[in-house]
């Protein structure tokens, strides 16, 4: 069992990892890629001590720095996060991790589906959380949007609710084996009145009662919904110790809002590490 699992390999996550490591905490950092800073073509011109440097280069330097301290860094996609009274459990596409605390440093959620009326029907037929919303679709016709292990994870739950499932890959190739019908069309528009009644693709109209989004990998938005983390205007709410409303679950960086700047993310990483160190000191035994 780790002292802390950090989800996210950006400036907040890696800074926290370094501070936790220096406090002799057993920490692991997981992320699917370099995140928004490292994947774009950002050139950073305002970060202390650096000549203009690409976001990717800066991220690589941060990860290199952490690796030199023997901090385990794993490039894996997080599929689910769960907790009980004793521990946090993080399932990735490769393995499962357990820890006493968890730090969400995933960055901000990005809109993954560009479909007309998507926001209008979110919560009115469109769901990001099968566990929260599955009940309303018992034996109804549902679409599940996805194509990979994340889709497979959600199907395991949803197929207990209804057998009337159609998979929409939104133009992607499917990476899992499934017995449900698969539509490869691109999604164009959600139709409905008070609630969702169907989906228009580039070739057809499909009558449906609900649509579950399980595309790419779960975003911070999906984690916050499933875990019941309190947010305000799309930012996770944390206390002075960077802890969310869930005991032992911390958040830092862009996900908690404020200035979307590297210096602020690094500061968050440091502060959240102290919050976690403090929490671990007080909570020597089981969490609750």
């Amino acid at each position: 069992m780790f002292d802390c699992i950090i989800v996210g390999l950006g400036p907040a996550g890696i800074s926290a990892a370094i501070y936790l490591n220096r406090a002799n905490k057993d920490v692991v950092a997981i992320g699917k890629d370099y995140g928004i800073l490292g994947n774009g073509s950002h050139i950073i011109e305002n970060y202390y001590g650096f000549e203009p440097i690409s976001g990717k280069k800066l991220i690589e330097k941060g990860i290199q720095q952490a690796k030199k301290l023997n901090i385990p860094i794993h490039f894996e996609s997080v599929v689910s996060i769960d907790y009980d009274a004793e521990k946090f459990t993080v399932e990735t596409d490769k393995t499962v991790y357990e820890a006493k605390t968890l730090l969400l440093a995933t960055g901000r959620s990005q809109q993954k589906l560009n479909v007309k009326n998507f926001h209008k029907y979110t919560g009115k037929g469109i769901s990001f959380c099968s566990i929260c919303d599955g009940f309303a679709f018992r034996n109804k016709r549902i679409a599940v949007v996805g194509y990979n292990f994340y889709l497979a994870h959600e199907l395991k739950y949803l197929e207990n609710i209804t057998k009337d499932i159609t998979i929409f890959t939104n133009g992607k190739n499917i990476e899992i084996e499934t017995s449900y019908p698969v539509i490869f069309d691109e999604l164009i528009e959600i139709h409905g009145n008070d609630v969702l009644t169907g989906i228009q693709t580039n070739t057809n109209f499909f009558e449906l009662d609900g649509m579950f989004v399980a595309i790419d990998t779960p975003s911070s938005l999906e984690f916050t919904k499933t875990l019941g983390i309190i947010s305000d205007k799309n930012s996770v709410v944390v206390d002075d110790n960077y802890m969310t409303n869930i005991e032992g679950l911390f958040a830092a960086g862009d996900i908690i809002g404020g200035k979307l700047q590297i210096s602020k993310a690094v500061y968050d990483g440091m502060q959240s590490a102290f919050g976690i160190i403090n929490y671990l000191r007080i909570k020597k035994g089981p969490l609750k």
Binding site: G123, K124, G125, S127, C129, I131, C132, D133, F135, A136, F137, D194, V195, G210, T224, K225, T226, L227, G228, I229, I230, S231, D232, V237, N245, I246
Partner: protein, 103 residues
């Protein structure tokens, strides 16, 4: 104090209430519903005598869940004089849930 309502007493407790009512449609298996509970308890304390906080188990009361088209859990609905004045889904801060009541 949080009041638990079901289909037999929903009309009396919620629709005929003289005070504004914040209704939480929840279910026992729903984790976010558990994590928002301390927030609801705080609101019911803060607004004692000013507004009511009512929980409805959507699993045990499918007729009520259907009537209000509950498709996501938790759903919060504000009733004033039997009419819906505001509605939201998911987990919110205490202040934002209080704002829904527009007191």
């Amino acid at each position: 104090m949080i009041i638990h309502a079901d289909k037999s007493n929903f009309d009396t407790i919620v629709l005929k209430s003289e005070l504004p009512v914040l209704v939480d449609f929840w279910a026992p298996w729903c984790r976010p519903c558990q994590t928002v509970l301390p927030v609801l308890e705080a609101i019911s304390r803060d607004l004692d005598g000013i507004a009511k906080v009512v929980k409805v188990n959507a699993d045990e009361n499918p007729t009520l869940a259907d009537r209000y088209k509950i498709m996501s859990i938790p759903t919060f609905i504000v009733f004033k004089n039997g009419e819906i004045t505001n509605q939201t889904i998911g987990i919110h801060t205490k202040d934002n849930l209080k704002k829904l009541l527009e007191l």
